[in-house]
């Protein structure tokens, strides 16, 4: 039940953090990741307006044949996306933990600029401790 990858998308749709943890998905270039993140941002905006009865939280899980994508939207419109295998059941709990680590190691770090790519050693270390070592 591997976790393939983690993305963090800022409120403008830019990919600010991307990391792979296990093989199983096609390897993409960083540009392709940026495009995919932007596309997901657009899809998410559409899905949040699809509900016939007022507002909606937008897509939470997108499933494919070989993987599933769990999306956590925070109150500040940052999106955490976890790519896992279909049988993975802990994705929601892991995303909550990632959010917690993000608030601690990124938002409380004076050397991080909001909405910019995350280059914080503390964040990397704690994500490694949570999910495991990436390739």
């Amino acid at each position: 039940m591997p976790i393939y990858g983690l993305w963090v998308i800022n409120k403008a749709g830019g990919l600010v953090y991307q990391r792979n943890f296990a093989d199983g998905l096609a390897q993409l270039t960083s540009n392709e990741y940026l495009v995919l993140a932007g596309t997901l941002h657009g899809i998410h905006a559409i899905t949040s307006r699809l509900s016939p009865i007022g507002s909606s939280s937008g897509a939470q899980v997108i499933e494919g044949e070989t993987f599933k994508m769990t999306i956590l939207l925070t109150a500040t419109a940052t999106k955490f996306v976890l790519l896992t295998s279909l049988s993975e059941t802990t994705a929601d709990a892991v995303l909550q933990k990632v959010y917690e680590i993000y608030s601690d190691a990124v938002m409380k770090n004076p050397f991080h600029t909001p909405e910019m790519p995350i280059r914080s050693e503390g964040f990397d270390t704690r994500i490694t401790a949570l999910i495991g070592n990436g390739s």
Partner: protein
Amino acid sequence: MAYSQPHSRVSVLSNSSTASSVEHFSPAASTTRFSLPTTPGLPSRVRPNIYDRNLTKTRIPEVSGAAFTFLFSEMVQYTQKRVSGINDLERRLNTLGYRIGTRVLELMVWRAESQSKAPKREIRFLPALMSIHTQVWRAVFGKPADAIEKSVENADEYMIIDNDPLIERYISVPKDMSQLSCSSFTAGIVEAVLDGLGFPARVTAHNTPTAQAPSRTTILIKLEKSVLEREEVLK
């Protein structure tokens, strides 16, 4: 009523010293001070303002760690925008800490000695250093520091070591600023306390990571010559 006088701040201060505390902290009084609308159903006993609480309380209410880290993060960002280099940044953080240290010392001495019949003051350096290691650290960070060391090479250098400094817990310094230690703030506190006790010194902070404690920090104290000479005389 505060607005009818030319200096509203002065008038508020003089009010607080003369008015009885009950009257002063009633919701009505706070309305005139902050011009807030009176909220119906406000409890009649409002928590006293921090300036009016008892100073000698031994049980000190705790401060939210998250709130403090956000505040400190903003302080570092604010400072960083106004400096040209790492040395300048550390010096400014040191200055900010210094302002806290003078107050910490005063409060600590008051809490420790005001009740005693024969209040005393540290005049030797080592006991003073010990009290910084335990009492100042406990008052500021809620735990004593991890170690005190004396430099082998230089007789005027002492070190206080903290394995996991509270203020740096969530800070990751970028690689191009790797010499920077945000504990310069703590160094400023220590410098102020030493100055206040009559041991002028230059205090700096340095990262000394180990495998077990990646954020281990050394606060280096370089005493002034006069202090060492006085220590010799007192021996």
